[in-house]
Every structure is written in structure tokens, then in C-alpha cells.
Symmetry: C2
Subunit: 329 residues, 2 copies
């Protein structure tokens, strides 16, 4: 029912090939007919059908971006980075949210592949690269962001999570806090694992022989809060906690403060990500910063590189983390 290129052609009594040429202002069409085409296109409210166009051109100028949780301020930030760079380069982006469900992540990969996106940027929920790669069989280039995927043949851009975890923990150690707990999430998230590894490394490095204190829950917004509440209830509160991300840190903060304990006098807290709120006056969360927006931009740049020359070797960028010390520690 919508108006097509043929309607314009019919109205003007010319062939639709000419209309197509005029619309894409190609070389070799009379300026006058072009003008006419443009005008009647306007008056008929013509809107090009990108499905048809994509089909013949074998291009969609579209990429997919898959994130685990758009509600975590970290991701919108990198999303904006990606989106800006993509837009700059004439691409539009499909943004998908997996809600930390692996199954959904794979579903979206399939879906986006079927929509013929030209590239994919994924902030994975878990170690799922293997599955994704076999799913795509190299048809569509992928960049993993904020996760190394431990995978030798995939491209990624991420921060050195192990080092970040190490820095955070070292800082707490040097401040003299003890014991230090690690507040994290499901083990199948590589990010979580790595940060935890950094934590353990630091403990080892500074000769703490005791077992590391691992508080592990699901990646739900309330988990950190609940876990800390439980610990407080059983008056089993660690002197400091290093949280896998700022949202967890804030959850812990909330629990601690609601129970009348003070930060950092009673409990010190450090997070990871440096979301905008971390610097807020009454929060002042010490945290490991990530250049979120830039990571997004870079991810797109890397993807573009792989889209234009798919045979080039995978690129792997590991950024150096940077500890921002504030009042919470």
C-alpha cells in the first residue's frame, strides 16, 4: 500500500530506473527530470524501502549493540559512545538488552544476524563468545566490549579487570583495613571473575593467609543491598568491601548507612566503573574508573575496521585502569 518508486514513475510517465537514479542523485539524469522526481516524491510522501535497498545492495548500514543491563548507568554511557561514532559514520544501531540472560543474548545475536546487521558490539553476560562465534561462523564481525572473553581469536576492548581489582584491593590494604570482602556476582561473568582474581592476587601479594571473603549473589539490582544487610544482621561485617561494580557498591553503601554505620569509619567501600553518581558529594565513592564513552567510540572504530577488512587479524585492546580515591575509603 505505501507509495513506491513505481508510483512516482507512473505519475511522471518515465521508467522507475530513472526515478531511482534521480533519488540517489546519480550521474546521468537530466536536471529537470530529477527536479520533477524530487517534487513528486515529496508530494506523494515517498519513503524509500530500506529492506529492498538492503537486499540488492547487500548493505544495511546497521550494527547491533547488545548489553546486559541498560539500567546500569555504565552501559548507557558506552552505548552513547557507540551510537555517536556509528552515527558519525552513517550507521544506525540496534540496541538490545539481555537482562543478564544468556539465552536472550544468543537470541538477539540470531535476530540481528537475520536482520543483516553488518557488525555486532557485545557486552557479554558471560563467557559466551565461543557459542556466538559458532553461531555466526564468521559471517558478521564482532567486537566484545568491557570483557576479554578469554578468547584468542576474538576482538575486544576492555579494561584490565584483574589489575583494576588489584589496585582497588591494594588501596584498601594500604589503608590498613582488614578484613576485606569481595562483593560480586555470578561466577560465569568473566568480568566478575577477573576483578575477583585481582582481589585475591592483592591479598596474596600482601601475605594475607586467610581465605578470601567472597560474597556472591545474582546480578540483580538489590543483591548487594541484601547480602550486606544479612551480614550486618548477623553482626559479621567486614572492615572493607570491594564491590564488582558501582551499583553493587551503592547497594552496600545503602545497607551500611541504613543500619547506622558510617563510611569509611566503620566500613570502607570501593567500587568499579566510576558511574556519574560516584562523584556525588554525599556518596564520594572510591572506584576504579573506566573511560566508558571512549570505550564505546573505540569499539565502533574497531568494528568499522573489521567490517571494511574482515580478514585483518583480530584487535585486542586492554586499557589501563585508574583508581579514583574518594571519601568512601
Amino acid at each position: 500500500m505505501p507509495v513506491t518508486i513505481k508510483d512516482i514513475a507512473r505519475q511522471l510517465g518515465i521508467s522507475y530506473a530513472t526515478v531511482s537514479r534521480a533519488l540517489n542523485n546519480k550521474y546521468g539524469v537530466d536536471p529537470q527530470t530529477r527536479q520533477q522526481v524530487l517534487e513528486t516524491a515529496q508530494s506523494l510522501h515517498y519513503r524509500r524501502n530500506d529492506l529492498a535497498r538492503g537486499l540488492v545492495k547487500q548493505r544495511t548500514a546497521t550494527i547491533g549493540l547488545i548489553v546486559p543491563d541498560i539500567t546500569n548507568p555504565f552501559y548507557p554511557e558506552v552505548a552513547r559512545g557507540v551510537e555517536e561514532a556509528a552515527h558519525e559514520a552513517g550507521y544506525s544501531v540496534f540496541l538490545c538488552n539481555t537482562a543478564w540472560e544468556q539465552e536472550r543474548e544468543l537470541l538477539y545475536v540470531r535476530l540481528l544476524a537475520e536482520k543483516r546487521v553488518e557488525g555486532l558490539i557485545i557486552a557479554p553476560t558471560a563467557q559466551t563468545a565461543e557459542t556466538i562465534e559458532t553461531l555466526l561462523t564468521g559471517q558478521i564481525p564482532v567486537i566484545y566490549v568491557s570483557d576479554t572473553q578469554n578468547n584468542l581469536h576474538s576482538s575486544f576492548i576492555a579494561i584490565d579487570n584483574v589489575r583494576g581489582g588489584y589496585l582497588a584491593t591494594e588501596h584498601l590494604i594500604q589503608k590498613g583495613y582488614y578484613p576485606i570482602a569481595y562483593l560480586g556476582a555470578l561466577e560465569d561473568s568473566l568480568t566478575n571473575e577477573e576483578r575477583c582474581t585481582g582481589y585475591i592476587q592483592a591479598l596474596k601479594q600482601y601475605n594475607f593467609s586467610e581465605e578470601p571473603l567472597l560474597y556472591i549473589g545474582s546480578y540483580h539490582s538489590q543483591t548487594a543491598y541484601q547480602i550486606m544487610c544479612e551480614r550486618i544482621a548477623e553482626s559479621n561485617v567486614p572492615r572493607a568491601v570491594f564491590a564488582v561494580n558501582d551499583l553493587f557498591a551503592l547497594g552496600a553503601m545503602q545497607a551500611v548507612r541504613e543500619h547506622g554505620l558510617r563510611i569509611p569509619q566503620d566500613v570502607a567501600i570501593v567500587g568499579f566503573d566510576d558511574i556519574p553518581l560516584a562523584s556525588f558529594p554525599e556518596i564520594q565513592l572510591t572506584t576504579v574508573a573506566q573511560p566508558k564513552r571512549e570505550m564505546g567510540q573505540l569499539a565502533f572504530a574497531m568494528l568499522q575496521q573489521r567490517m571494511t577488512s574482515p580478514t585483518s587479524p583480530p584487535q585486542r585492546t586492554l586499557l589501563e585502569p585508574h583508581l579514583v580515591i574518594r571519601k568512601s575509603s
Copy 2:
């Protein structure tokens, strides 16, 4: 280059129509051939081309969602709502960020129309419905979310912003705070205008004859902070401020606290939206709550209704706002 339905047909020595039927498990294909088709599809890593499919079926099972700022925690929340509902109904969603630029909003509308999305949900940056409607000429149903667009023939779901502004201001008045400033953004945002109207109405209602105190800046993340800093610098601080949204309120809070003033003893603050952080212990922001997730879900439900019966009259839902009183006032 990617494998098509014909490759499967060729390999099995059958026609590609049969392959199509098998793949879409339609009635009337031998179970055995179907099995074979499925198997070779798998082994060849076949992936259906949704461009071609959409072209012939005249359906894409895709909608567009346009928001002004994915970085403002309000929007991810409604985005999740629509995404969930859409996913439930078998639709995928294109999420686009306009960065509060009207031009970009229109660009995305065009782009999405060209991609043949079946519906559009827009959280508009301004009073742009008129333009959008003429752009789309009724080809694609649109639901405006969180903004009434003042427009008699468009569908929307929003909160009663005037009433919300009124409630917030009334609350501050009844607490005895005076003077009360309104901290808002560009005037071409209807949301902003309406909340401001509510503010003024409340002042009138309670017989404040003075001019309303309007602090207006751009929709940038730092504006609220800067405006308040200036006021403080010139020691011209209002007793209370009602901010157009929680992000602005937080910016004001930050400025106030950084200058050693206390909330609410020196300056009372109320916001709008009730983003997750508003309830945080050391923030405790009084605010006008919006059912964000639900608004998203409802928006999709409304859209679906309009997609299935495009001739039905536009739907207009105005939700009742609800004041959440916390310690900031």
C-alpha cells in the same frame, strides 16, 4: 556470499519453495524432507534473510523507540518496559538516542520509517508531533510517551505533569519554604513547560503575588549544578527549589552541598521522576514518582493496539502523579 535457501535446495535436489515451507514449518511437507532440510540448514549455517522476508511479507516485527537521553536513568527504565512487552509479543526494538536534538529526532523518524518499523514510540524532545505526523502521513502508528504533545489527534501515555508540578510546589509551600524557585530547561520541551505551569498554578493558588523564580538552562547534565553554583556565588539562594527532573535536582543538591549548605535546613529540594537513586539513604530526594517501567509496557500495549487496528481512534492516557516525600524537603 552468505548461504541462501537455494543452496539448501540445490544440495538436496528439491525446489527452494519446499525448503521455505520446511523452514517455516508449514503444513504440507513430508516430515522426512523437512528433517533433511533442517539438518542441512544447520550444517550449512543457514540464516534467514529478514530483509527479503520482510519485503514479501510486508512485516518486519520491529518497532522503533526514540528517547532524548539514554543517560538519564528515567529513560532506560521505560525502555526496559517497552522492550519487555515488545519481546513478549515477538517484536524487536530499535532504540535511538537524540541527545535532545530535534533534528536528530526527525532524522531517526525518517530512518526508522525507511527501515519499515511497524510502529514508533517516541519520548519527544519538544513539541515535534506535528512535524512527525506530516513526515509519516499516518503510515506508521506513533505513541508519544511521557509527553502529551498537546495534540488532539495523537496517542500518548504520560503523567499529568501540571498536576505533578502543582503537588511538588504545594508541598514546599505547606512546609513553609519561601521563596521557591523552579529549576528547569529549555522552553520548547512540553514536559518542562507543564511542570512549570503546575508550579505557577500552585503559587497563584496560595496567593504568592511575586514573580515566579525561574532558573532555566539547557538540557545538559551539568546545567542544574552550574545554575545553582552561580546563585550561591551571588548569595542569592532560594529557600527551596523544585527541579524539572531528578537529575536536575541531584545537580542542585550537589551544588548546595559542595558549598556547605544543608538540605533541607538551608535549601529544600524536590525533583521529578523518582529514579532509583532518589531513595538512596544520603540522598533521600522528595520527588514526583512516575511508573516508568509500566509506562513503557503500556506504551507498547497501546502501540500494538494501533498496529492491529490503525483506524481505531487515538488513545490518550494520563496517569495520576504521586508525591514521594523524603528528607530533602
